[in-house]
Symmetry: C2
Subunit: 252 residues, 2 copies
Amino acid sequence: MTRASFTGEQIYRGDASICRGCWDQMHVPIPIRGALALPFRAFGITRSKMNPNICTICERSFRYVKKQRQVTVNATILFADIRGFTALSEQIEPVRLTEIVGLFQDHCAQAIWAHDGIVNKQMGDGLMAIFNFPIVRKDHASAAVTAAMEIQRHCAAALKSLNVDRALGVGIGIHSGEVEIGEFSSFRSDFTAIGGAVNLAARLESKADAGEIVMSGQTAAQASHLTSQAKTRALSLKGIEIPVLARVLSKT
Amino acid sequence: MTRASFTGEQIYRGDASICRGCWDQMHVPIPIRGALALPFRAFGITRSKMNPNICTICERSFRYVKKQRQVTVNATILFADIRGFTALSEQIEPVRLTEIVGLFQDHCAQAIWAHDGIVNKQMGDGLMAIFNFPIVRKDHASAAVTAAMEIQRHCAAALKSLNVDRALGVGIGIHSGEVEIGEFSSFRSDFTAIGGAVNLAARLESKADAGEIVMSGQTAAQASHLTSQAKTRALSLKGIEIPVLARVLSKT
């Protein structure tokens, strides 16, 4: 499969020589690039699929890294998906559908990794990213908003280049707050985030039209230098009693 | 963490001695239990987290197994999540939240594995399962509906035992149809399913109240011996123009 819009452009592969997650969480240097990484690779310790600047110890050994089953972390959660995908999927051939999903996932990952986030979950035409764990970023809200703006810019160009008949676009929801991070089932070993803040980010995303970034007031306030142009929108969200005053960035 | 409701009950661990996915897809016997499995384990080939009766070759080497990037498969897709979780997550302590998610995920996996499905994606308080790939089951619709009924029965008992203040329950959506299965991003190696049929299953799930199994007409027709008691409900679903006549099984 060729991915036309990646011509001359490489997926962000990162450049850290030690795992930034293990360093930030434990102050332990785990080599992930160069000759020093070779013996680790022999023991199955490689770069994580969640972010190429962290290693599979962070990814799969949460309990070893944090010495507990779960931790409460102040983080920013980003959800993104392709708007119009359900309708589109009835109309175009499967190979094209795959191409669109591939482009979307790759462009999103590139933007998220460039700002120290991790792609924690991929779900078909959607994904969930976490900022501030395991790579610590004090400005995690700004990092997420910047990544979202890059996702919108790059995906708009890529989707346009595909010449799909209908208006496709990406919807993004972002919220910053306390989440629970840990391993939450007895048969999976990769960590994830749960809690009200995660669900709020997902609900905000469900309200984002193509091209829009819908964020909570908390995220907008922490990334105020990026969100001064954002419009305010009152949203009533499933499972949340009081309407939420969201801030929305859209294509100019 | 103790999980009270699992007392005297073990998570389904499967019992196949060779990988049922590799056998069904390639007719190649890959030992996953017993002494013959040991040399494979040394090469990192172990049982998959998606289903303990398949191996990590099926899970991570889709292109090797299928000799192509994607395949169209007639399958049944099941989505499940905890209803009322967003509201609940604002009210109870994080440790309890984790306990509920853990119980849910474990009970779901047990029921899905017992009927040859795989837990393809876990997303916090939700999951997506696939029936008929890589383990082939001609009666995949019936297998999914039976698994859904077991999920409802076991989760209802488990959630009740937790003595949570509010009425919690599980919502399930099921649809059977052609899906695209393959690896859809250049940086992840586990396969997933995409396409209109996947999105329809997700939309059906979003309409399921606590305790309900909402399935498409296609699934109900293929599992007619299980669904004669199901009520018909017209649903207008996001991204789908014509109202869908769904069939609903609920607690008696």
